[in-house]
């Protein structure tokens, strides 16, 4: 049977090319893999190899021809014994490319923030039943308890990181876990973030449930390729086959006087990535309930803690097993004049500001997002529809911040309800300075939040 040899596409962008040179002539025998022609693409001159073996029956496009469209027959190959004349004569019109036509872009089926005409309803359900006994606990203890409970519950959960075992944790979050669970499940790593993040991700693909502690998230930049390219994208790239249940946790953001390389808030960085979930708790109860949810989640979760909050005490429900769902904001304080939205350490400035505002007769509603992917947009929008004003508060930099994203969402979904532009209070657009006075200036403060709230309420 005669086979046509077609003008090949030899680069991702080639549509036509020049048939620079034939290296065979009619009647020549060719073997598969033999170079039969040289073809100039839009980028380079490429050698073109025969796929099938046979005899060149006819050359349809002469050497030197330019602008030969991809998929035009350029020669005919005949099989052993078949007469050369059996080959069809040159075809007049080039065969249409078999390449699939570009399909129109899909309607954004699930582009959550844009399409939601109905009035949003905030999920105001309590996180734990009324009357639950409470105990006072630091964020540090809450995180430790969450890990210990989940490690007891599931043998496949293990903790890995620098100094998590014998040293008991650089910030003492893993205190006692080595004694309780042994060195098979509490693993001290060398200082090698890229490598151990990759190993942990691989082990998650094979069915384990690692908790990776980064001594601080500043050092996770060394591992960000494994977090994003390997952990976040594999489920999609595998058509749903290969998931990655893993938690990356550790302190994030400014501590105190540790300067630029050790003081960065990564909330907006990770919140941008589809495939990741991102949690940034403020209170101890949220730290515990959300970390337990994170460990049970089938997806990669970025869990952003804060060194300054580790030692703070909060009321935590005294329950054997309680979790907090992702994507549910918490309203810390109800109010009528302005909505203040924050998360993580930003909450402490925000709650402070709300107290100061109350003293001046301004009633602020305070929302803690708790998770940044997914974000509980409905709670924010419902609140803005009530107060008609909004200020966002975060420690991270101003450009492409979480506040920017919320502002855009509020504009899309509640434009007609706004009585003032949304203001984003953020850290200043500078690397963190060391000097005490400058560091203070670089961080967001409750006074800045108060000033912004007054501005949007025209006081």
């Amino acid at each position: 049977m005669a086979t046509e040899i077609l003008m090949p596409a030899l680069s991702p962008t080639m549509e036509e090319g020049k048939l620079a040179k034939w290296l065979v002539k009619e009647g020549d025998k060719v073997t598969s893999g033999q170079i039969i022609a040289e073809i100039e693409t839009d980028k380079a001159t490429m050698e073109f190899e025969a796929v099938d073996e046979g005899t060149v029956g006819r050359i349809l496009v002469a050497e030197g021809a330019e602008g030969v469209k991809v998929n035009t027959p350029i020669a005919v190959l005949v099989e052993e014994g078949e007469s050369v004349s059996a080959a069809p004569a040159p075809v007049a019109t080039p065969v249409a490319a078999a390449a699939p036509a570009p399909t129109p872009a899909a309607a954004p089926v699930a582009a959550a923030p844009v399409a939601a005409p109905a009035a949003p309803v905030a999920d105001g359900s309590p996180d734990w039943p009324a009357g639950t006994p409470m105990k006072t606990m630091t964020v540090r203890e809450a995180l430790r308890e969450a890990m210990a409970e989940e490690m007891t519950r599931d043998e496949d959960v293990y903790l890995m990181g620098e100094e998590v075992g014998e040293y008991q944790g650089a910030y003492k979050i893993s205190q006692g876990l080595l004694d309780q669970f042994g060195d098979k499940r509490v693993i001290d790593t060398p200082i090698t973030e890229h490598g151990f993040a990759g190993i942990a991700v691989g082990s998650a693909m094979a069915g384990l449930r690692p908790i990776v502690e980064f001594m601080t998230f500043n050092f996770a930049m060394q591992a960000i390729d494994q977090i994003i390219n390997s952990a976040a994208k594999t489920l999609y790239m595998s058509g749903g086959q290969m998931g990655c249940p893993i938690v990356f946790r550790g302190p994030n953001g400014a501590a105190a006087r540790v300067a630029a390389q050790h003081s960065q808030d990564y909330a907006a960085w990770y919140a941008q990535i589809p495939g990741l979930k991102v949690v940034m708790p403020y209170s101890a109860a949220d730290a515990k309930g959300l970390l337990k949810t994170a460990i049970r989640d089938a997806n990669p979760v970025i869990f952003l803690e804060n060194e300054i909050l580790y030692g703070r005490s909060f009321e935590v429900p005294d329950l054997p097993d309680f979790t907090i769902p992702f994507g549910k904001a918490r309203v810390w304080r109800e109010g009528t004049d302005v909505t203040l939205v924050s998360f993580g350490i930003g909450m402490s400035h925000t709650l402070d500001a709300a107290d100061k505002l109350a003293a001046e007769g301004i009633s602020a509603e305070v929302i803690d997002l708790r998770t940044l992917r997914p974000i509980d947009y409905d709670t924010v929008i419902a609140s803005v529809m009530k107060t008609n004003r909004c200020v966002t508060v975060e420690e991270g930099w101003p450009v492409a911040s979480i506040g920017n994203h919320l502002s855009a969402t509020i504009m899309e979904r509640a434009f007609d309800w706004l009585d003032a532009p949304v203001i984003n209070c953020t850290g200043k657009d500078v690397p963190m300075p060391y000097a005490a006075n400058l560091e203070k200036l670089a961080l967001v403060t409750s006074d800045e939040v108060v000033a912004a709230a007054k501005k949007v309420t025209y006081r």
Partner: protein, 329 residues
């Protein structure tokens, strides 16, 4: 073809030789067909062919047992076929169709199979090395006696994360075989232009990892080295490095004009060192098979590959709703 040392006196069984012949030929014909479909515009983007390197995966798969894991780079079609993944599903992924192994969402460089313990298909050079050690970490954690083959290139061997991984794999005695497929080029960079010491199998010495170099154009040699590495790994001795000397006949990807090496260099490899020709010779000289027997195999393989190509053209493009699925489990 120039005679190989020891080629004629192999005492490998007929069945074994025939299976290597079939498996290597399947990869070669599949890749040739993929190249053809790329030329027709049916396959897009990057497409890295494995032609020339077939003996590496076929030899190592012969040393593997059921349940062992494998992971590799973007040059992954051969690995998938050798571990038994369906040629139809692989080809349909190359054409970006619903019937592809990743439903058309991964493409040539990103395919996976839980069933065959194939963990990808990774596009970031070197990233599969710690991931592979992580698979081995999970096996050790579960104590299931499995080993992992983590394949990477001579170019990837210069990535820092490889050495981070060597250290931890040795420290924790992970059952992983690091397979360096040294095809002597990383894109257009010849190994000597990128690498201070060419003996990549010695790169583990600083971590106490044993390594050896193997002729990757000789499937029997690869299998023998693989068996030794697997035995060491399964015995709990920790990782092992195999530097498999091989050669890719085609460009780095479909769009590589390959001006960094001469046509003669490639032709010489094809003529004198081709792994499939080698086994063909063993079969014929050892009177294990006739030319007609081999022709019949060629025909079978062609049919399988053509069927895969047909499937990859007929399978529809993924539904538009697929854009939004598989982002979260």
């Amino acid at each position: 073809m120039a005679a190989r040392k020891g080629a004629a006196k192999s005492n490998t069984s007929r069945e074994e030789l025939l299976s290597y012949y079939r498996e290597m030929l399947l990869i070669r014909r599949f890749e040739e067909k993929a190249g053809q479909l790329y030329g027709m515009g049916l396959i897009g983007g990057f497409c890295h062919l494995y032609i020339g390197q077939e003996a590496v995966v076929v030899g190592l798969e012969a040393a593997a047992e059921e349940g062992d894991k494998r992971i590799t780079s973007y040059r992954d079609h051969g690995h998938m076929l050798a571990c038994g993944m369906d040629p139809k599903g692989v080809m349909a992924e190359l054409t970006g169709r619903e019937g592809g192994l990743s439903k058309g969402k991964g493409g040539s460089m990103h395919m996976f199979s839980k069933e065959k313990h194939f963990y990808g298909g990774h596009g970031i050079v070197g990233a599969q090395v710690p991931l592979g050690a992580g698979l081995a970490f999970a096996d050790k954690y579960k104590g299931n006696g499995r080993v992992t083959f983590a394949y990477f290139g001579d170019g990837a061997a210069n990535q820092g994360q490889v050495y981070e991984t060597f250290n931890m794999a040795a420290l924790w005695k992970l059952p992983v075989i690091f397979v360096i497929e040294n095809n002597q080029y990383a894109m257009g960079t010849a190994q000597k232009r990128s690498t201070s010491t060419p003996e990549l199998h010695t790169r583990g010495l600083a971590f106490g990892i044993a390594g050896e170099t193997v002729d990757g154009m000789d499937v029997l040699a690869v299998k023998a080295a693989g068996e030794k590495a697997v035995a060491a790994c399964r015995a709990g001795n920790g990782p092992y490095i195999l530097e498999v000397m091989t050669y890719r006949y085609r460009g780095h990807s479909m769009s590589d004009p390959a001006k960094y090496r001469t046509r003669e260099e490639v032709q010489k490899m094809r003529d004198e060192r081709d792994a499939i020709e080698h086994v063909r010779e063993l079969l014929i000289q050892g009177k294990h098979a006739t030319e007609d027997d081999l022709k019949a195999i060629d025909k079978d393989i062609k049919a399988i590959v053509n069927e895969a190509a047909e499937f990859s053209k007929e399978s529809p493009e993924p539904a538009l709703s697929e854009l939004w699925t598989d982002i979260y489990a």
